[in-house]
């Protein structure tokens, strides 16, 4: 077995064994050129969450004893073909090939397809590998036996922030349109909150299973419901979602509950205590600039505009970007340098912003509480001394040591602004001047 593969073995509630070979996403594997993810025009909710691929999510479920049918991961058409050959050769009537990308709507985009023969599998894999789904290039696919689905359910364990508890959520109407179900028919969504101190109790999982209409598969449904919560706690996940959880028919006619898809997002704050999960971050889908910034302790999201922003504090950073747009400009990035940043961190932030060739002006907005204005000024001066492009920079520093910062910046001939509104206008003007 290749060194990047793991053999995972799980035991279903009925005692039958499932096994899967999971390959870890490896940057540089396969023949599709290493993509630079396109700059985004949106930024997601700024929560410290790590998305992981379906294949990796399934590995976590399997490790917690949930019933997940075996799968393989392929990076190239020959690999996909080989997997299909194995699966079809073992007696399956069809395989399913699923794009592994960290965005929803893969099916609608044509990234999930069945194939009934090796030749068809090769063709399908060829179409999906390299396809663009919502701006991400597909670099790997999951290949598995196509299931004979009798019915589909939705089940998830999620952190309910308003209730401050883990919520076990499910519906007998699984599949893609669950969000519409929630809107059209809220009572079709079953909800049970785990007790904040006692956790999810067995009787709750049973009630949940009956309400889901899974009485005929009670033992398995209860095990899966408890398993979702257990998975969440074991890995510090924010979300463990199975859609669809399906009743599938085996060749011998028996029916089983299995997880046909899995989405897991991990709490970034908790990753330090799960060092083995750090490898589940997918390097293929992280913008190299975002990754570099993350490793430097900065929160950075590359966007599509021309005005680079550097701010201390997420709320203030969003406000700064709002004001740039209000003044008629377009932010090139979200960047929060955090509290107490020293000169070297500021210099690193500046380098990352300037690495984007679209940036033609930079706005620095610092309200120093624990962050010291003079430290920031020193970092900016240090960065500008080595920068290769001469990009106009508007600096606005208030708060701790702002006076010292002002002296340093004046001596180094930086353009400054007193108010945030003024800084935003000046940055937009500088950008227009540069573009002219």
């Amino acid at each position: 077995m290749a060194s990047d593969a793991q053999l995972l073995v799980g035991v279903r509630a009925d005692g039958s064994v499932v096994a899967g070979v999971a390959r870890r996403p490896q940057a540089g594997r396969g023949t599709i050129p290493s993509p630079v993810p396109p700059a985004r025009t949106s930024y997601p909710e700024l929560l410290p969450l790590v998305k992981i691929q379906e294949a990796d999510a399934k590995s976590l479920l399997l490790a917690q004893g949930l019933p997940v049918p075996a799968w393989d991961v392929a990076y190239t058409v020959p690999e996909a073909r080989a997997a299909a050959e194995r699966i079809l050769g073992a007696g399956a009537s069809a395989v399913v090939i699923k794009a592994q990308v960290l965005v929803g709507g893969r099916g609608k985009a044509g990234g999930v397809k069945l194939a009934a023969s090796v030749a068809e599998a090769e063709q399908v894999a060829g179409a999906i590998l390299g396809m663009d789904i919502k701006g991400i290039t597909v670099r790997k696919v999951l290949v598995a036996e196509a299931a004979d689905i009798t019915s589909e359910f939705y089940m998830a364990a999620v952190l309910d922030r308003d209730r401050r508890a883990i919520l076990l959520m499910g519906s007998a109407e699984g599949g893609v349109e669950i969000e519409q179900v929630a809107v059209d028919n809220p009572s079709a969504i079953i909800r049970h909150h785990a007790d904040p101190l006692l956790g999810l109790l067995d009787y709750q999982a049973r009630a949940f299973a009956f309400e889901m209409g899974l009485g005929a598969h009670l033992k398995a449904a209860v095990a899966i419901a408890k398993g979702l919560v257990r998975t969440m706690l074991a890995y510090d996940a924010d979300l463990v979602e199975i859609n669809p959880l399906a009743i599938v028919r085996e060749p011998d006619g028996t029916q089983h509950l299995v997880c046909l898809d899995a989405k897991v997002t991990l709490d970034d704050s908790a990753l330090p205590r799960h060092p083995e999960l750090e490898t589940l971050r997918d390097p293929d889908e992280e913008d190299p600039a975002d990754r570099e910034a993350r490793e430097a302790g900065l929160t950075f999201i590359k966007l599509d505009g021309t005005i680079g922003c550097m701010v201390n504090g997420a709320g203030l950073a969003m406000t700064t970007m709002d004001l740039v747009k209000r003044a008629g400009g377009e932010p090139a990035n979200f960047l929060d340098i955090g509290g107490g940043a020293r000169a070297d961190k500021v210099a690193a932030a500046m380098r990352i912003i300037l690495a984007d060739p679209k940036v033609d002006a930079i706005l620095v907005n610092i309200f120093g509480g624990i962050t010291r204005g003079d430290e920031v000024a020193r970092g900016l001066i240090e960065a500008r001394a080595v920068q290769e492009r001469d990009v106009p920079m508007i600096v606005r520093i208030v708060g701790t040591n702002a006076a010292e910062a002002a002296i340093l910046l004046e001596q180094a001939n930086f353009a400054t602004a007193a108010s945030l509104d003024e800084a935003a206008s000046k940055a937009v003007a500088a950008s227009r001047g540069a573009a002219a």
Partner: protein, 294 residues
């Protein structure tokens, strides 16, 4: 009177001998906060802040010896949930947890324990609270404040400072300024703070500073529309121009049910009688437009 912090605050600082704890304790003390004790396990018997503050091994001992009623926690993320529980068990009524980076699931049993004890937790990952002219607990710079009668509540850190500075510069002072923090699971919500302001004789107007994500602003707005109808209320929401993110999984959308966008928050706030600013500097002017005469 003010809320949460004031002249009756008797503060114990958990983690007072650490770098963050020591630095901010000095600033709190300088502002006028009465720091009666510090707690660092193993350093009981020592003193902090140049001999001014006795250090104890446990919060229980600190409470017994000094009558501390408020705690400020500067303990790293690994130990902070336990520090909150220790303070709760020791009978501390008001606990500020400044620590950031606490795993979300760790806070679930903690907030439940605090709730059962009838205590109040603000945070975690919050800058604290200041009642200008009397006391501050946490890391909000004292220099931005002006004594006055406007209650300020915010999810943010530095954005709060920006907004408060704009108010102070315009001569519009604050009764109490509360940072509730940005973590997924927090001890005190916008709604909780508004309820306190409603009962506070010293607060005549409200400033609410929110952000995209979650439904806390919507919930607070709904309550305020009913129970704070007669007082001037203004808000600022950060992230109004942030385009929609790419969500993965359906559960978040199912539980949020449409709330969470800036548009949803602004609509809810306006429906409740808040005037919503386009920039933090507009807040003082909007307060006047809303009828504030302080």
């Amino acid at each position: 009177m003010s809320i949460l912090v004031g002249p009756d605050t008797r503060l114990v600082v958990q983690g007072i001998t650490g770098r963050e704890g020591e630095f901010h304790s000095r600033a709190m003390r300088e502002y006028g906060t009465r720091i009666v004790a510090g707690v660092t396990p193993g350093k009981g018997g020592q003193s902090a802040l140049d001999g001014a503050v006795p250090v104890y091994d446990t919060v229980a001992e600190a409470v017994r010896e000094t009558g501390a009623n408020t705690s400020c926690i500067f303990v790293p993320a690994g130990g902070a949930p336990d520090a909150v529980m220790e303070a709760t068990a020791a009978g501390i009524a008001t606990i500020f947890c400044i620590t950031e980076g606490i795993p979300a699931l760790d806070m679930i049993p903690v907030v439940e324990m605090v709730r059962r004890a009838g205590a109040t937790l603000i945070g975690p990952n919050c800058p604290g609270a200041t009642s200008p002219g009397s006391a501050k607990v946490g890391i909000i710079p004292g220099s931005i404040h002006l004594e006055g009668r406007v209650g300020v509540v915010s999810r943010s850190g530095t954005l709060t400072y920006e907004a408060v500075q704009a108010m102070t510069d315009a001569g519009v002072g604050q009764s109490t300024c509360v940072g509730i923090g940005g973590d997924p699971i927090i001890g005190t919500t916008f709604l909780d703070v508004l309820q306190r302001f409603a009962a506070d004789d010293s607060t005549d107007a409200i400033v609410l500073i929110g952000e995209i994500g979650g439904s806390a602003e919507e919930a607070a707005a709904a309550w305020a529309g009913e129970h704070l109808a007669d007082i001037p209320k203004v808000a600022f929401i950060a992230g109004r121009t942030a385009p929609e993110g790419k969500r993965m999984g359906h559960a978040g959308a199912i539980i949020s049910g449409g709330a969470g966008t800036a548009a949803s928050k602004v609509a809810a706030l306006e429906a409740a009688g808040f005037l919503v600013a386009g920039s933090p500097t507009e807040l003082p002017g909007l307060l006047r437009d809303a009828g504030y005469r302080g």
